[in-house]
Structures are given as C-alpha cells and as structure tokens.
Assembly symmetry: C2
C-alpha cells in the first residue's frame, strides 16, 4: 500500500490523499487552501495532480470526509481533468449538497453524480473494503474511514473532536470506535490540528451555556457572526433566539446557502416564523431580534464589516446592542478583526469575542483526546496528518508516550511516498510533485514564481516605465523620453527627479549606441535598467521595477 | 490644559502626546508604528505634526518615557523640522543612548543634546512642574511622569507592568506611587494594552524559573531568540547560561547594539569571558553554548531564519539542540513564525515557545493591575491611553467599576483635543490632522493614498502597459503595439491573448481618431483603458492596471 499526500501549503495531508495498491488509486478529499499573505491576488492554492496524469484509469473512487472547503473546494479545478465520469464518488448528504452547489457556481462544470455516504455504507474495491464512522466536528456528515486490507485496517479519523454533548451535531460514538478497534489497526492516520493544545477540547454544550448567558443579558439587538461553515453554531444561535423570544434574520451568502441546504436535509431545525428577512429588522422590538451574519474574520465585503462601517441598510448599531464574534481568528486576520471590534466599541455596543469568554470551541481534538484516540486503536503504525509540521511532531511525541515505537511513526510530508508493508514502512527516496498550484481568476497554475515575485516587487516599490523613441537613421532620441510610473512616488511632486532621469536615459542611449555598427538594444536596456535603478535608489531609497522601452522609428 | 494625541495607527496616544497650556506645549514621546499588511513597501508610520507647524516657538520641552521604537522611533523624521535647538529634551540614560545611536544611523541628522532623567529630576515650566517615577517594563529606564498643575496632578503611567520580582529590572515601587497619590490626582492617563486580559501580569521571575528548567534539561546547543528590545529577557538568558556553564554568542544587530549600550551603562552584567564570537561556536562543546539572536518574529533577514534555512555559517541545528522563542508573536507574523518553527521541528530540535509554557511575559499590566493603579491614584478624571479602541473601552469599564463616574472618563482618539478644566472636560468639536504619515525610504509623507492604492492594485493583478506608435499624418498605428506586462499572466504562454489585445487596441485607436479633426488622445486612452480592462477581465477574471501609451511620430 502506498499513501501520498498531494495538497498542502504548510499543512500535511489536509487537502488530498491517495491510497494506491495494485495499480488502483483511491482518493480521499479534494480540497483547497486559502493563500498566504505573500501571494497577492491569488484566490486559492490547490493540490498538484501531476502524479495522477496518465493514471486516470487507475482511479477506483473518490471519497469526501466532510463539506469544508479545505476538503472539497478544489473539485471545480481538478475533477474534470482527472476523474472520468464512471468513477464512483462518495460524500455524506450535506457534503454532496455543498459540492453540487459549488459546481453550479463555477461555469462550465460537468454534472457530478455523487453517492451518499451513510453510516452503514460498505465499499468493495476487491482486496480492499472501505467502511465509515461518524465523527463529531463543526459540520454535520463528517466521516472517518476504515480501509480494510489483508494486513489490517487503515483508520483515518478525518478532522474530529471528541464531544459527547455537541448539542446539534453527532456525539462521538466511543462504542463504535472500540468495535472498529477490535480488528487490528495496521495504520492510524489522525488529525493533528490540536496536537499543540493542552487538555481536552471543549464541548459545544459549554459554548451553548455561555451564549445563553449573553442572550439572557442582552437588552437590544443581537448581532452574532461566525464562520458560514460552522453549521452547528448557527443552529445553536437560532435555538437560543427562539428560547429568548427573538426572531432571526440571516445575512451573508455562505450562511444563507448552508442554512437552506441543512434545512432541506433536516439537519437544521427551527419553528415556522422564526426566520425573518433582514429588511424587516426595523419592524420588530429591539430585544426581539437576532441577526446572524458572516464576517467574524473581518472580511472586507462581509455583512459584519458593512454593519461596522454604517453601510448596512437594515441595522445601525447603537448603545445597548450586543455583538458576538463566535469564531476563532484565522492567522493573518487579527488586525482586520481588531479594527471591526474597535468600530463596534466606538458605537457603544457590548462586544463579546472568544478571548473574553468561551463562545467558540475548536472543531479539533486536543492533546488528551488525541492520546485517547491512539489508545483506542493501538495501531501498529501511526501517521499524524492534518496540520503544520510542528503539530505533526507534537502528535508523534504523544504517540511515543502512548507506547508506539518511534520507528513505527510515519512523519511524511506532502509529495512524499509512504510505502507501507505488513511489518515495516519506508518513505521512498523519489517524491511526487507537490509544489503550490495557485488559482487566480480563470487561471489555474499559470501564476507561478515569476508572476508572484513580480507582484511582490510591484507591491513594495511600484513600477517605473521609461519609453524612448530613437530615430533609426541618426540613432538619436527624439523629443524627451516618456515616463509612466505607478506605486513609486507621487509624480506631480517629483518634477526634478523626472527631468534628471530623462537626461540620464538619453545619455545612456547615445553612449551605448554611439559607437556605430549594429546596435544591441538589450545591452542598452540593461544599462538603463541598472543605472536607473541605482540612481532612483540613491535618490529615494526605493527600488521600483524599472522597465526601459526603446522604439525605433 | 489641552491634551492631544498625534500618533497612532489604531493605537491611541501611543507615539506622541501634547500637553498644551498658556501657549506652552510639552511633548511626550516621538514614536513610530510599523505598517499594517495593506501598506506594502512602507517602512513605518509616524505622527502627523501639522498641528505643530507655526507653533515651534511654543514648545517648551520634549520628554521620552522609554527607549522602545513606538516611543522614540520617529525622532529622525520629525525632530529637525519642529524642535528648535534650544528646546530641552529629556530621556533616561538608556533611552538617550538608543535615540543617539539611531541619529547616527540616519544620515543628515543634527547632533541632539539630551538631558538625562533620573528618579529625582524635577522640571519647572512655570505654572507647571514635572516629576518622574520609575516603572517596571521590559526595558530599563522606563519612567512614568507627574505633571503638577494648580488643579492637581496629571499622572501618565507610561507603558508599565507591576512586577515586584523583575529579576534584572526595576521592581514596582508601590510606596512611591502611593506617596505621589497623596496629592490629588486631577487626571490619570494609564496604559491600556492589557485591559482585555484577565488577572495580573506575570512576573519575570516565573519566566526565569521556566527558562531555568529548559536550560537544565538541554543537552545540546541552546538557540534563544527574543525581541532585540527585550533587554531584561536577554540579561536573564545570559545569567542562565552562566549558571549552567554555557558561553554566550550574540548575533543580530539590534541585540548586539543594545547589549553594548546596556553594558556601558552598567545595566547588563556578565562575567568576563562569557561572551564569545558566533564564529567560535564550533570550538565549544555543544552543551556549553548558548546563541542569543534576533528573529523570534520570523523576520526574513534575521539570524534565526538563517539558522532555520541552513544558511547560517556558524551553526547547523540537529537533534538534541534546543530552540527557544521567548517572545509573543506580533499580529501579522503568525505564519512566518509557524514556518520557522516547522523548520526546527524538521531538524529534530526541541522547540519551546510561549504557547507551550510561560517563557514570555507581556510588559503590560493586565486587568487587575490596572484596577489597582486606578485605586492607588483615585483620580478625578481618567483617560485610558496606549491601545486599540477596544482596549481603551475595556479600561474605561474597569475605571467605572472602581467608582470613576462615566462622565469623568475621557475616551479620546488621536487628533481629538481634550480641554481639561478643573471640574469638567470636553472634547473639542474641531480636530487636528491625525491621518497616517507614511515613511518609505527617504520619502516622508509622499506615499499617500494614491501611491498606496496603486501598489495594492499592482500587487493583486499586476500591470499591463500597451504602447502604440501613431503616424501623425495618417492617424494610423505603425507596426504592432508593444505590450509590457508584469505580475499579470505569464506572457510566453499567452500569445493568443496578446495578439487579440493588439488588434483590439489598433481598432480602438482607428475608431476614435478616425472622425478627422483634432484628436483627443485622452478620449482614446480612456477607451483603451476601459475596453481592454473589460476584455482582459472576461478572458482571465483578473483586473491588471491597464496603462495605454500613445506616441505620435
């Protein structure tokens, strides 16, 4: 059995994992990552599927663990080029709904046929069988998988937390986990996201009770924002609103879509008449309304930001209103979230966020839970997955503490090939391509290192284009060179600098072309680029991208 | 008395505050802020000093509370334009050293004369006197100030924490605080940075003990990194190294400069022979060496990053080495720090960071300390300063809980004018300029909204310059237009798109100039910009900056 992680951007095995045996390939998840700060303009980063090119006929199935974008989001970019129409695809009902909705939103996508995963589904790929078990997370229909092989089971936990009282999700079924563990576990692949966090993860029940306290004390409107994909939390907020006699307005497209989908599947329950249109907020007494919306990450275009800046037409925040940020802050978003929070404080709202009180719980198991998971399965081999390398390392240490020998722990990175044999494993010396594939607009993978580096340079100090018209008979520059510059300096206030620059360029052209003979324009341009770059740096301590253009007429 | 905060970038009153009475102005601190993520290429943001232009002769003195850059860093950009040579300047000995060092590093700076603040210094500005009291923080020579006025004292805490056992800094002198509080406090201005954090701030003693444990267990080299300005922590690391028989190599320019300066002042103590050159690390047994370096924020060029990437010539990390991140992570740096951490885990080092164990303490008082500070001074008026608005708001709530009437609490922002009278205050309706002044290279304030917006656009989708030569007699485009594009798409792979673009531009020029009569080139260019922008967006879903150039020959 070979196991390969294709996706990544820092996190190992998060987006897409291959199980390969006897020329058969089973794919687990096809997700995306959101770009890092140094990837301006990039929409998302998707798994590199080079390795699968030419092996399309080997693919025997695709399984999705759950409906979060880091597990399903790359479908529109990858699927049609590698998954042939006859290949069976499996996903839980909500996951299926989310994938199909996304296919509708992206043009030119094939209609996908997706088989529904139910707790009792068994798949048969010849020598390999696959079964499923529900796992608590922050979204319904999250499944761990058991790959049954002649050498024992491979168990993949999916993203998970232990929660016996998740309020409106599936509680962890320890009996089922133990019954799966009755068969020998050859390899356990377990979610490492919380491996650096001490203790046990918090139950959604605690969150519910804390939110209940906030609701009890709230006298004005409640504006509650969370991730659109945190389905269970949204259900909690609706239930609490009903309990406290509040009508609920919902705004923000992901949240609205997910609500609709979950309602149709019977996963989201509320009384008839609870939900009102945001337009009607003004028609209700202030202590009778909750607005649930997107924007807890401080996203520029989200509803919460528009409320904060006073641009939201249906509600202006004032003293006595309550604003709840019921989500953690994704690294990189701290400042925007802080700015939104500051705005609400200025408007005299009562602001609650997860650092003040437990109104958000992670969807991932922490150290002590991870330890328990390893104890339940007592696997022969252990492979930490899902997380940055530091999390995998800490997870590996936990496994060692639980008695897994260091030599039986697989620390593999994206693109590495794990060859797993009955009694040993090795990481192959060759790797498969796993570099970032960036999506920008309609382009997939065409924004590479070059374009990205250019964007970074442009962002730092802008661009300086200088265009010279040269008379091809005399070799002299006609008129004065044209300068176009953006993001460098404010041109209107830099007349002297520009005049000096023009003179310099004319001199360089005359000097480098003056010797007669065939003119080497590249040589001239290089001279302009270097000398001008140095000159501008000396004058401004900035390094704009210098682009010389010479046109012979 | 008028009080005005000029600096900022989100934090109120952090960088520069004016006290103005009877046409006299006393300045407290002249600091800078580091830019936010949406300010590419910007080096720093400094206070707007418009308000002081024309009032230079009113300035009676400048006082620096302590030597951190957010309190002294704008001196080279601001001082010479507003502070006349005869105006007295005051700073603690280390603060003075840091300011003068910085003046040396920036060219064309006047020689400053700085008077040293000692605990007993008293300044006399006529009806106003000023006295000082030492405050514990993370750097020596941090002073709170007492402005004595006929209406009572104005007490400014500076950045501070309460710490009775700071190990190598000044312990909080509660007796002195209480004796100052024996006189009526008209206004207390207090550091709000920790106002959202529960409890008391942690003593450096706890940090010292935890670091001691790590040192006891370390078998290989220790690489410890922190902020270069966390002088007390660096002293701790040196003392611990001596205790455990380790020699200390120091690398990274801020850390080296600060060490030198502190040593000369007698603030940093170590035995002769403790410090070794980084070049000599290899000459010592692995369990006898500590390297203290910069880079705990994941800065690209810092020593720690070079060690992580294997480019540091004097030390390669291997199994058994210990890496300590002894600082918090500044928002925006999480990902880079995570990446550095991951590298060290890959290299099998033992990694310690502040989330795992208390090896960093903030330099700022937390809720219960702030409460105590208010109780000590029992001020008539209270003004939270230093912090984002949410911190000020929380600090204001603490003050209310301690019995300060809501009407006596001043929540003023940068640029607002507080008019403080004996028995009441008001925030003036007019404000002073407080917009961001950005420094980029040698330019101060010349990077404005326009340049910044251009840089953001360039970063997102790049630039597309199209140059057409038009025959002024025929009005026809000569040859084919030239295209220069950067950061948009990879040109070599986009030949068809470029050909289509050229054709489109030629058509637009011929169409818009074809009617005869005087040609309006701006009209033509606008047409190119709009139509081409739309065309490229349709083809790529990207919006590069389109710059049409038309040259008549």
């Amino acid at each position: 059995m070979k196991i390969i992680h294709l996706g990544g951007l820092g996190e190992v095995g998060k987006n897409m994992t291959l199980f390969e045996w006897n020329n058969k390939i089973l794919i687990l998840d096809v997700g995306l990552m959101f770009p890092e700060e140094n990837m301006p303009g990039v929409d998302c980063v998707i798994p590199n599927i080079e390795y699968l090119k030419g092996k399309e006929q080997n693919i025997v199935g695709v399984i999705f663990t759950h409906g979060h974008y880091d597990h399903i989001g790359a479908v529109p970019y990858i699927f049609k080029s590698i998954i042939k129409p006859h290949v069976p695809v499996y996903a839980g009902p909500l996951t299926k709904g989310i994938i199909l909705k996304r296919q509708e939103d992206v043009p030119h996508q094939p209609r996908l046929i997706i088989n529904e995963i139910t707790p009792n589904l068994k798949l048969d790929f010849g020598e390999i069988k696959v079964e499923f078990f529900p796992q608590a997370h922050t979204i319904p229909d999250n499944f761990g998988i058991v790959i049954k092989t002649p050498n024992g089971n491979i168990v993949h936990t999916s993203d998970f937390k232990f929660d016996l009282t998740p309020m409106y999700g599936t509680p962890t079924n320890f009996d089922q986990l133990k019954s799966i563990a009755n068969e020998p576990t050859w390899l356990l692949m377990s979610d490492s996201t919380g491996a650096e966090d001490e203790g046990h993860s918090m139950s959604e029940k605690v969150i519910f009770e804390n939110l209940d306290t906030i609701f009890s004390q709230a006298k004005g409107r409640i504006i509650a924002s969370s991730f659109g994909s945190l389905i269970n939390r949204i259900q909690q907020l609706i239930v609490l609103s009903e309990k406290h006699g509040r009508y609920v307005a919902i705004d923000g497209s992901t949240i609205k879509t997910n609500l609709e989908m979950c309602r149709n599947l019977g996963y989201m329950k509320f009384e008839k008449g609870t939900i009102i249109s945001p337009k009607k907020i003004q028609d209700y007494p202030e202590n009778k309304v909750t607005l649930i919306c997107t924007g807890a990450q401080g996203e520029q275009q989200a509803v919460l930001m528009r409320i904060a800046s006073g641009e939201y037409p249906y509600l202006k925040v004032k003293k006595g209103d309550t604003v709840i940020f019921s989500s953690s802050v994704v690294p990189g978003n701290e400042r925007s979230v802080q700015n939104v929070k500051d705005e609400f404080y200025r408007q005299k709202a009562n602001v609650y966020h997860y650092k003040m009180m437990d109104i958000h719980a992670s969807g991932h198991a922490k150290k002590e839970d991870l330890r328990e998971m390893i104890n339940i399965f007592k696997p022969k081999f252990f492979m930490p997955v899902h997380g940055q390398y530091s999390m995998l390392s800490n997870h590996a240490m936990i496994a060692q503490e639980q008695g897994i020998p260091e030599n039986n722990i697989v620390l593999a990175e994206n693109g590495q090939i794990l060859s797993l044999k009955k009694d040993y494993f090795k990481i192959e010396s060759q790797t498969v391509p796993a570099n970032y594939v960036m999506v920008d607009g309609l382009g997939i993978g065409d924004v590479g290192e070059v374009v990205l580096r250019d964007r970074q340079t442009l962002a730092e100090d802008g661009i300086f284009v200088i265009i010279s018209i040269v008379d091809h008979k005399t070799g002299k520059v006609r008129n004065s060179p044209d300068i176009i510059s953006r993001g460098f300096i404010y041109l209107r206030e830099s007349k002297d600098l520009l005049a000096e620059t023009r003179k310099k360029v004319v001199n360089i052209i005359h000097r480098t072309t003056g010797s007669g003979g065939a003119v080497n324009w590249n040589y001239t341009k290089n001279n302009i680029r270097n000398e001008l770059g140095e000159f501008l740096f000396r004058k401004t301590q900035r390094r704009p991208m210098v682009l010389p253009v010479i046109i012979e007429v």
